[in-house]
């Protein structure tokens, strides 16, 4: 396929994804624990301000806020997932591969165990603790990896990330054993979800997520070069170690903000890049936006399902993404083989 055909194909793919996102958002507004007719929903969405909003209006605005949250977090995780897969040349890398989810979980569980309290900067206290934990653990991973003398800095980062992930897992278990009365709250927070979070929280997390996304796009060419290996990439004029540090750092920032918002939701960051690669090809300048769109769609749909399947009880969103993502992944492996496997 030549360049022009390529561009058409990509254009179609983007168009399709945008349409799918629009459809998902519309569904998210229409469906929920409370039955609303489409007419009611539409009218409520565009009802004027000032007058006392009807119940329907409040519900629709709530759903809108939630859909925005889900789309933002989904896009953020998917873009970061694509970045980490590129940085480590590993099709199984996900946004949490250098340890941010473990630290975020520890921060959140610690905050829950210490009881409710006021937050800051728009984040709830738990969110803030999760954000700090996520960033902190990424920092530790970098320090540990830098201190080792492995030849490949990619391997040392991955190993340090895995080790720290296990460490934080253990710490979380310890905190939950000591304060096991808070098990329910902690467990549900860890499973991930958007309950209790709204637009103010999104506004607080948005700068970090946006910064991460822009950095990801800006690093498209570097990620393309990294795909042939560190040595060749160096011979072509780039600096793999520095790139991994800077780009990975921005991606970790974005992931930490997303986790602070909604807990560590799995599969979105792993599966979306693969889906996007099928649609628009491996070049990162196209891959990253396509992955972001796919992630947004996936998470909005998962959240809608989580809210409606056993209404009024909400299922954890992380369980929904696994239910959707895992079969897709298995299907893909069985049928074609993963990108990157020979």
């Amino acid at each position: 396929m030549n360049d022009a055909g390529d561009r058409t194909r990509a254009g179609l793919a983007y168009g399709g994804l945008a349409a799918a996102l629009f459809a998902a958002l519309a569904m998210a507004l229409a469906l929920g624990a409370v039955r609303l007719s489409p007419a009611e929903a539409l009218a409520a969405l565009f009802s004027g301000a000032g007058t006392e909003p009807s119940t329907a209006a409040v519900i629709v605005r709530l759903r809108f806020a939630r859909a925005c949250l889900a789309a933002a977090v989904g896009a953020s995780l998917a873009a970061s997932g694509a970045v980490f897969q590129g940085l480590f040349r590993n099709p199984l890398a996900d946004p949490y591969v250098i340890g941010s989810s473990g630290g975020a979980a520890f921060g959140a569980v610690l905050a829950i165990a210490m009881g409710t309290g006021a937050g800051a900067m728009g984040f709830s206290r738990i969110g803030l603790a999760a954000f700090a934990g996520g960033l902190g653990s990424t920092l530790v991973v970098y320090l540990v990896a830098g201190a080792t003398r492995l030849r490949s800095d990619a391997s040392s980062l991955l190993l340090a990330g895995t080790a720290l992930g296990s460490l934080f897992s253990a710490l979380v278990s310890i905190v939950l054993a000591l304060k096991d009365k808070d098990l329910h709250q902690a467990w549900f927070w860890l499973l991930g979800g958007f309950s209790g979070r709204g637009l103010p929280e999104l506004a607080a997390a948005a700068p970090a997520m946006l910064a991460g996304f822009i950095a990801a796009l800006a690093s498209s060419r570097s990620l393309d070069l990294l795909s042939v290996g560190d040595e060749e990439a160096t011979s072509l004029g780039m600096r793999p170690v520095l790139t991994r540090f800077v780009v990975g750092g921005f991606a970790a920032l974005s992931v930490s903000a997303a986790v602070a918002l909604s807990g560590a939701i799995g599969f979105v960051g792993l599966v979306s890049p693969h889906l996007a690669r099928r649609l628009v090809g491996p070049r990162h300048v196209r891959l990253i936006p396509a992955a972001a769109l796919s992630g947004a769609i996936l998470l909005v749909v998962a959240d809608t399902v989580a809210r409606t399947v056993f209404a009024p009880v909400e299922m954890p969103v992380g369980a929904m993404t696994a239910l959707i993502g895992a079969p897709f992944f298995i299907y893909k492996i069985a049928r074609r083989g993963l990108e990157g496997t020979r």
Binding site: N2, D224, S227, V228, E231, L236, G237, P282
Partner: protein, 279 residues
């Protein structure tokens, strides 16, 4: 090994500035010295071949000159500047590297791989323009890779992949090309084709440094030769000076028949391995 005579270009005023140069360069990994104290250089328009038995350090010395491996001692220079003090992008403006094996982690097309060569010139952010497109197309034509350009890089055969990588190096538009055993696993005809291509590139003004296995091809096409021995020692000079009976037999630990053909020129044919002298 018989020490080499002085370099052919004795007059510094006439000699072109060397693009790749080593002065007493010791190459190796960590504690292990692979090649000890070698000195050589090649300037524009010269084809330098690096010869020696397997494992003697041909790849190591070339990677050290490229700055991909730190030197143990001595100096490596690219375009007259010490490699150790050059940033990767500056090095990539002088020298283009063609490795022996290349794998892309994702399903890039050959054209995308060739386009990677433009990074050194454009950097991370600057968008590509017509000059880049032209350079890429020229490189594809030069390597006769038109039919390969839109195929998946991972689906290419070894020889096809190597053509693509050389095209990438050409797209990089550097004065120096460094290739690591590009003729490995190629059919004899294709080997000759490749050596002719490298020779013509040298004629057109580039400096080319290439490690080869085939002594005969080296002698036919090379302007300069670096022969690396099993013990890490090396000799450098013109092919006639360096590729003597004694040097070759010692380096390769092999008995050769030495011949001279009217059309082909001087050649060697391996007969048998030398008996190892008891130490």
């Amino acid at each position: 090994m018989i020490p080499a005579p002085s370099l052919p270009e004795a007059d510094p005023c006439l000699a072109p500035k060397p693009l790749i140069e080593a002065r007493g360069l010791c190459a190796g990994y960590g504690e292990r010295v692979v090649v000890g104290s070698s000195t050589f250089s090649a300037g524009a328009g010269k084809l330098l071949v690096v010869l020696g038995p397997n494992g003697c350090g041909k790849t190591t010395i070339l990677k050290t000159c490229m700055g991909l491996i730190p030197a143990l001692s001595g100096v490596a220079l690219l375009g007259g500047n010490a490699v150790a003090s050059m940033k990767p992008r500056a090095r990539a403006r002088v020298a283009a590297w063609v490795p022996q094996i290349a794998e892309a982690a994702w399903s890039y097309r050959a054209r995308d791989i060739i386009a990677q060569g433009r990074y050194a010139i454009r950097g991370t952010f600057a968008p590509f323009d017509e000059t880049d497109a032209m350079a890429i197309d020229d490189a594809i034509d030069a390597m006769d890779a038109g039919t390969l350009a839109d195929r998946r890089f991972s689906s290419l055969s070894g020889g096809e992949a190597r053509r693509v990588m050389i095209a990438r190096a050409l797209a990089q538009e550097t004065p120096l090309l460094v290739l690591d055993e590009p003729a490995a696993h190629l059919d004899p005809g294709r080997q000759m084709e490749l050596m002719e291509l490298l020779s013509s590139l040298a004629r057109s003004g580039k400096a080319v440094a290439v490690s080869v296995h085939d002594v005969n091809a080296a002698r036919r096409f090379a302007d300069l030769a670096l022969l690396v021995g099993r013990d890490g020692s090396s000799v450098f000079g013109s092919p006639d000076e360096i590729l003597t009976h004694e040097n070759l037999e010692n380096a390769y630990d092999t008995n050769f028949i030495h011949g001279d053909h009217a059309t082909y020129g001087k050649f060697v044919l391996p007969v048998s391995r030398k008996q190892r002298k008891a130490d």
